[in-house]
């Protein structure tokens, strides 16, 4: 990560904290964002002349709050907006240095991933409200026009306000399910725009840094929830391999052929630490298992070989927890390595064809196993399916070369 990116991510700390603190009180995210936007603009004109205040966050809070009070008085609308008036701590403080305010970002994360919010807009909502990304940035990552993304975000925020979605933490018994939704939305940011199974174009980093930052925040705010750490570990393992996914000429390099010297050892070590911390709680979950799978792959850097037996076990555990296409394909790969290509192919045959018909990695793996079994015509056909379903030019080129070598 370069310095500018680090600074950007640090600034998001204040932005998200301020949005969360004010939104929990006014229950109107859109209005809070407008008021904060004004406050940031004022800061841009005032700070260069008068100097940066000692407590910039408090300055922004006081300025945004003043603006919110103005807006509430003028429109005389939402009674809830008047809660903003009641920030007695702000009024009694004699100067900015005395003002501190609690971190309410966890509540904001849970609101964004509330079950009543459409699953497709949860990740964009988090990116905007918690991290301050704009609709154009989010839209481009999700391949949606900025205006369309903007409208969807506006509609979601109106729903939060008007449907009465509570601005609090879920009750204890609902927490595990609700946390799953939060983590799934964070993971969706990571996988947006590129395929994790085969490894996408590293120049399109998508929102990987943002997702890692959000997972880290989630882990800080919920230190006793091992799945948050599991997710962070999973993303760090995958991000560690970013530099090895393409050759110097831009060609796709499959995981098994990647130069392990190009893997980021510092990221792998961070991932190992997070996964170890998570395991202390003795509550295994989907993300911890997926991270453990990546941990096995990461060991190749020191042992020069891949422990497929362990991978097969981990994948079969993962299928029991969450039966996804990705988990089944991973399992089939590991089984093919340990028990032969035919056994792996049998597992693919057992999958429901309707669910995999348009799944490129399924066809790529099927072609690969058929080729190993010397079933050229069937392999060629499967490669054709995979090639036809590929969006990524580098992967298309890779698959075409494989098909031609048959």
């Amino acid at each position: 990560m370069d310095a500018r990116r680090v600074a950007e991510l640090a600034a998001r700390n204040s932005y998200g904290r301020l949005v969360a603190y004010l939104a929990v009180r006014s229950q109107d995210i859109a209005t809070v964002e407008d008021a904060l936007g004004d406050a940031f603009l004022k800061a841009l004109s005032s700070w260069p002349q008068r100097g940066v205040p000692d407590n910039p966050e408090a300055w922004l809070l006081v300025t945004a709050r003043r603006r919110l009070i103005d807006m509430a008085r003028r429109s005389q609308t939402h009674a809830k907006a008047l809660n903003i008036l009641n920030l007695s701590g702000v009024d009694s403080a004699e100067n900015l240095e005395e003002i501190s305010f609690p971190d309410e970002r966890l509540k904001l994360l849970f609101i964004c991933a509330h079950p009543a919010i459409n699953v497709n807009i949860r990740t964009p909502l988090m990116l905007q409200t918690v991290m301050g990304l704009n609709a154009a940035q989010i839209g481009s990552a999700f391949l949606v026009a900025p205006t369309t993304m903007g409208q969807r975000l506006v509609r979601a925020k109106a729903k939060i306000r008007d449907a009465g979605i509570p601005f609090g933490l879920p009750q204890t018994q609902a927490l595990p399910d609700r946390l799953d939704a939060v983590l799934a939305a964070i993971y969706a940011a990571y996988t947006t725009g590129w395929d994790t199974v085969l490894g996408g174009d590293p120049s399109h980093k998508g929102l990987a840094d943002e997702a890692i930052w959000l997972a880290q925040l989630c882990g800080q705010l919920l230190p006793a929830e091992p799945e948050a750490r599991g997710l962070l570990a999973l993303m760090l393992y995958c991000a560690a391999r970013r530099g090895a996914r393409r050759s110097t000429t831009g060609d796709y390099v499959p995981l098994s052929e990647q130069d392990t010297d190009l893997w980021s050892q510092s990221m792998i070590q961070r991932a190992e630490r997070e996964l170890h911390q998570a395991s202390i709680y003795g509550r295994l979950g989907r993300f911890q298992l997926e991270a453990a799978i990546q941990s096995v792959h990461a060991q190749r850097a020191s042992t020069q070989h891949t422990d497929w037996e362990t991978l097969a076990q981990l994948y079969s555990g993962l299928i029991q927890l969450v039966d996804t296409i990705g988990a089944r394909l991973g399992h089939a790969v590991a089984i093919a390595q340990t028990q032969g290509a035919q056994t792996g192919l049998d597992l693919l045959d057992a999958m429901d064809i309707k669910t995999v018909q348009k799944h490129q990695p399924y066809w790529a793996l099927r072609a690969h196993l058929l080729a190993q079994l010397d079933e050229q015509p069937a392999a060629r056909q499967a490669y054709a399916m995979a090639i036809g379903l590929t969006e990524d030019p580098a992967i298309r080129k890779f698959l075409m070369a494989k098909a031609q070598s048959l």
């Binding site: 009180r25 701590g89 004699e94 005395e98 305010f101 309410e104 009465g164 879920p170």
Partner: protein
């Protein structure tokens, strides 16, 4: 040394929200209402004992409905419901609860949630908009 002024969060006043729980029924549900009635009676009793029920009604099936439009000042009456879908609005409950999560909890207890579907919508407040 000035002590830090903590901005506390306990000042948020509890505001009640009004929701309609809209009950959708299939033709079969309508035909077998007598079977479902005990469950609905228990449900509305639970709502009123919790002090959240403010109104509601059960409706006749959609084919009993008449839909009215004014076209160029002329009254046009159509035999049947506005939207002729397989599932029809069969009734509604009006409730007062603190937030959507509470409303969804009540909606999930409604017998129709297991039979067909229940829609939850906040009432439009005339004063706040």
């Amino acid at each position: 040394m000035g002590k830090k002024a903590r901005c506390s969060g306990d000042l948020t006043q509890q505001i009640q929200m009004k929701y309609a729980i809209l009950v959708y029924e299939t033709e079969q549900d309508f035909a077998h209402r007598d079977q479902h009635m005990p469950a609905y009676n228990a449900y509305s009793q639970a709502l009123s004992e919790a002090g959240v029920l403010t109104g509601g009604a059960a409706l006749h099936p959609g084919h009993i409905a008449s839909t009215v439009r004014l076209k160029d000042g002329q009254r046009q009456v159509q035999d049947g419901p506005y939207a002729d879908t397989k599932e029809q609005l069969g009734g509604f409950f009006l409730i007062d609860v603190p937030d959507l999560d509470n409303a969804l909890d009540w909606a999930a207890r409604c017998p129709a949630a297991g039979l067909c579907a229940v829609e939850v919508r906040p009432l439009w407040s005339m004063e706040a908009n």
